[in-house]
């Protein structure tokens, strides 16, 4: 970093005039406290606190004086500051007499300040003696044998004392370029540039302001998308700038960036030789600003690429401690309670109180942000990337493949998806079963595959991603798919399914999860024991998740596990349906709209739809789906367009969309609730439970017949209540 250069001194004083009063007031207070601290030092010369406080006081006095160009004050204050700094660094020991001398100097400084305040000048030489005395102290200090320690501590440290920039700093001679010059600037940012708040776009903008700019970016350093770290700059630039501004001004654009980047500014000769006989000079070949980087340039870039990438892998090893799980769980719960408690506070906050008291509102929103951050941090303690089990799957795949004589390649994606630690651990076994199953039942022998036109090597893709309030883990293979005939006949033989039953493909596929079902001709060590998929199913259910199989004959099979995100703070929209409140994760929401009821079209024999920008969107009425009492037939209806997993869009018809809220997802995994259509629950600010909608389940399900009065029970005071 370099300093911003001060401009010519001319008009500085006038613009700061209004602030003088404040300064003198501050100055007076600082002088008083400086005096007090120095007296304290005189009485107890080895005490640290008054020394630091005195230093800070004189430092501030000096800074202000410099702003207003009170040169004599600055000079004396600087001498005082130097002396105190020497004392702080231990180069000089404070003695009673030294403190006395500092006090005298302070008195003189006071006089100078008084003079400045009244707009007059103190008598010439008033401060000479004081300056001399302080200079003597300084000389004594520099003669000490203690080595100068330029310790890189955070906090006030010793530093190489440079000369005080005097207020009448000589102007940097800036010859104004008579004609425009063209510069080629190479800008190669170091990895930490962004983390210093420096944005290349600002640099480009500033360069552009100086003249005609051509920008060419070198993207060869970009890694594969999956490895991209958004906090690191992989690009480097070559600028060609034609400007009348002097070179120093051009260089100044990179002032702040220069310590975190390589900047090379080369002035190009204005007239590019046009004859073919122009020799390529050793330095910079004269080139038009729009030529692509030359071979040589590209090679250097590549070299730097490698160096950069090596440096890029920052060592993320940090210390860690062991904490018992119950303690962490308690912490997570408490933090969750805080969020709910806050929501309650906000809920009960009288609106008028807020509008009359913006500071209150600001304070509360500040509090909310803080606890949200706290929440995220605490949740992160429990979180673990799914990578920890994904990596084990490679070995599993290799071992199984070897045992069976298949060729398998395992691809993983979404390894950084975060899950609760216990979920991750409990997912390992089921996942292993599924991968083994895919290899055993799914992937065919290499000969069979080749005959079918597939590559001899089978592929299994393991992926994880967050989808709203769920984590979706998929295992997909490109094998033969489920042999539905075999499964069905086996199921019938085992009595799981009555003979002659008509099941669609998906239903047959999901028979795989039935206990004891195994279509293996030989019971082998791996999966044919029939122990596999039903146990997997149970384990997933225990985690509060769902599991599904989708298969295409000859093409492959995909097992989809959907797990609740028990750790999440989710952004959701509040929807009401009659007296019931539901939440829908914002991640699923495309759009909210209010339409006239007449815009809803009834497709006979099917469902209701609405046309949005030329497309027909299927509608699901929450009231109807949940068996809730039909809302009043209002003229206008609220529709929330939501995206489901396969990418299609449905519209949820509700009474009202009430607003955005941050919620904590609470599991609803009790099967007694048979809660199909919900991803979980949450506690709202009023202390009541509200359910979180799962659009995927809603789409799959059908209207629920209400087993009892479809209404939340609220405590009412019934006048006719008979206490018998």
């Amino acid at each position: 970093m370099s300093r911003s250069k001060t401009a010519p001194t001319g008009n500085r004083m006038s613009s700061l005039e209004p602030f003088k009063a404040t300064y003198f007031q501050e100055c007076e207070e600082l002088l008083v406290s400086l005096e007090a601290h120095l007296r304290e030092l005189g009485a107890a010369p080895s005490s640290r606190e008054p020394l630091d406080a005195a230093f800070r006081a004189i430092h501030s006095i000096k800074g202000g004086a410099a702003m207003f160009q009170f040169a004599r004050m600055v000079a004396l204050a600087d001498a005082l500051e130097t002396a105190l700094d020497r004392a702080r660094s231990g180069r000089v020991a404070i003695s009673r007499s030294m403190a006395g001398r500092l006090l005298s100097a302070t008195d003189i400084l006071s006089d100078l300040a008084e003079a400045a305040r009244s707009g007059s000048e103190a008598p010439d030489g008033h401060e000479t003696a004081a300056l001399a005395a302080l200079a003597a102290l300084d000389r004594r200090a520099t003669r000490t044998t203690k080595p100068a320690q330029a310790k890189r501590r955070v906090g006030p440290t010793t530093s190489k004392r440079t000369n005080v920039p005097s207020c009448t700093e000589p102007e940097v001679a800036r010859p104004v370029a008579a004609q425009p010059a063209t510069y080629r600037i190479r800008f190669e940012p170091g990895p930490e540039l962004l983390r210093r708040g420096l944005e290349p776009i600002a640099i480009v903008r500033n360069l552009k302001a100086l003249g005609k700019l051509a920008v060419s970016a070198d993207v060869s350093g970009l890694p594969a998308f999956a490895e991209l770290d958004t906090a690191i700059l992989y690009l480097r630039w070559t600028f060609h700038l034609t400007t009348s501004a002097p070179r120093a001004t051009v260089a100044a654009v990179f002032d702040f960036a220069a310590t975190s980047a390589t900047v090379e500014i080369v002035e190009l000769p204005v007239s590019a030789p046009t004859s073919a006989s122009a020799s390529v000079s050793a330095h910079s070949p004269p080139a038009s600003p729009f030529d692509p980087p030359t071979q040589a340039d590209r090679r250097t870039n590549d070299r730097e690429n490698v160096a950069d990438r090596r440096g890029k892998g920052s060592d993320r090893r940090v210390g860690s401690i062991r904490v018992e799980l119950p303690r962490v769980e308690r912490l997570v719960d408490l933090v969750g309670e805080i969020t709910i408690a806050q929501a309650m506070v906000l809920q009960h906050l009288d609106q008028t109180l807020v509008t009359q008291n913006p500071q209150l509102f600001r304070a509360l929103t500040g509090l909310l942000k803080l606890s949200r951050t706290l929440q995220d941090s605490v949740m992160a303690i429990r979180a673990q990337p799914i990578q920890t089990i994904f990596v084990r799957m490679h070995r599993v795949a290799r071992d199984s493949a070897e045992q069976l004589g298949r060729e398998i390649e395992l691809h993983t994606s979404g390894e950084t998806t975060q899950l609760d630690k216990t979920t991750v651990e409990q997912l390992a076994d089921p996942l292993m079963h599924i991968v083994r199953n895919a290899i055993f039942h799914g992937i065919e022998c290499p000969d069979v595959r080749l005959a079918a036109g597939k590559p001899a090597q089978g592929t299994i893709r393991l992926s994880a991603r967050q989808r709203g309030s769920r984590i979706i883990v998929e295992v997909a293979d490109d094998g033969a798919g489920i042999d539905r005939e075999a499964v069905l006949s086996r199921a019938i033989a085992m009595g799981i399914v009555p003979a002659g039953a008509a099941l669609d493909d998906a239903a047959i596929d999901n028979l795989i999860f039935s206990p004891g079902l195994s279509t293996a001709k030989t019971i082998s060590d791996i999966a044919g024991r029939g122990v596999g998929m039903d146990v997997v199913h149970q384990n997933i259910r225990k985690l509060g998740g769902h599991i599904q199989i989708r298969s295409s004959c000859g093409i492959g099979t995909t097992t989809i596990i959907s797990l609740p995100m028990t750790l999440a703070v989710l952004d959701a929209m509040k929807l009401t349906c009659g007296l019931e409140t539901y939440l829908l994760p914002i991640a699923h929401i495309l759009e909210c709209m209010v339409v006239r009821r007449s815009a809803i079209l009834n497709v006979p024999g099917s469902c209701k739809v609405i046309e949005v920008r030329g497309k027909q969107i299927q509608l699901i009425s929450l009231a109807q789906r949940f068996g809730l009492p039909d809302p009043q037939q209002s003229e206008r209806v609220a529709i929330v367009l939501a995206e489901i997993d396969d990418g299609s869009v449905i519209g949820l018809v509700v009474d009202e969309v009430c607003g955005h809220q941050q919620i904590i997802v609470k599991s609803l995994r009790d099967p007694a609730l048979a809660a199909a259509g919900f991803a979980g629950g949450t506690i709202l600010g009023d202390g009541n439970v509200a359910l979180i909608l799962d659009v995927n389940q809603l789409v799959r399900g059908a209207a629920m017949a209400a087993a009892r009065t479809p209404r939340s029970m609220r405590v009412t005071f019934n006048a006719e209540f008979n206490a018998a």
């Binding site: 119950p326 769980e329 308690r330 997570v332 719960d333 408490l334 969750g336 309670e337 709910i340 216990t422 999901n510 999860f513 039935s514 199913h537 149970q538 259910r541 225990k542 769902h546 028990t566 019931e580 789906r625 949940f626 068996g627 809730l628 609470k666 599991s667 609803l668 009790d670 099967p671 007694a672 609730l673 048979a674 809660a675 199909a676 259509g677 919900f678 629950g681 506690i683 202390g687 009541n688 439970v689 509200a690 359910l691 629920m704 209400a706 087993a707 009892r708 009065t709 479809p710 209404r711 939340s712 029970m713 609220r714 405590v715 009412t716 005071f717 019934n718 209540f721 206490a723 018998a724």
Partner: protein, 186 residues
């Protein structure tokens, strides 16, 4: 003592008395007839009322007793599950006992109580009209229930107790709700 119900199901705790309930009525504790049963091992029971009938449950499974509070409806839940409540940050299902025992749907009133009970390893609330007492009953005074409905392998009632001229029906809490495991694929 703050009891924070975490999302991990709490193991069954051996209790003699229930936890100090949050904002609930104090419970009186009386002893049964002291006479012949004085030397018999006693079990303690929480007694509650549904309409005119008195029931009781083993105190070992009771965690706390709460006043009537808003119960959120769960669409698609069976008839005897009237919804869920917020129990200190956890979502707990509530069973409408009256409906469960074959009666009508309960209408929530402020005088009712929700008895938080451990069933099958997780907390379930039981909605009752009123909680009356805690009684210590000697084992021998618990009479078996006549099996009126043939071979029901999951009877709702475990025994009958005659106490001070009143008949108490001892409820088998474990059979009120489907167990956690053994659930059909969705």
């Amino acid at each position: 003592m703050i009891a924070v119900t975490s999302q991990v199901d709490q193991p069954d705790r051996a209790l003699v008395e229930p936890l100090p309930p949050a904002g609930t009525l104090p419970l009186t504790s009386t002893l049964g007839s002291a006479a012949a049963a004085a030397k018999e091992p006693r079990r303690k029971f929480v007694v509650f009322a549904l309409d005119a009938q008195h029931y009781c449950v083993d105190i070992m499974s009771v965690r706390e007793i709460r006043m009537a509070q808003t119960i959120t409806y769960i669409p698609g839940a069976p008839k005897h599950i009237c919804g869920v409540i917020n129990l200190r940050g956890s979502i707990v299902p509530v069973c409408d006992l009256r409906a469960r025992f074959g009666g009508r749907e309960t209408v929530l009133l402020p005088t009712q109580r929700i008895v938080i009970t451990m069933i099958g390893g997780r907390a379930i609330g039981l909605l009752v009209d009123d909680v009356l007492d805690i009684l210590a009953i000697p084992q021998i005074e618990i009479a078996p229930v006549p099996q009126a409905d043939g071979d029901n392998d999951r009877p709702l009632f475990r025994g009958l107790i005659s106490h001070n001229g009143t008949m108490l029906i001892l409820v088998e809490t474990e059979n009120l709700i489907d167990p956690l495991t053994n659930v059909p694929a969705n």
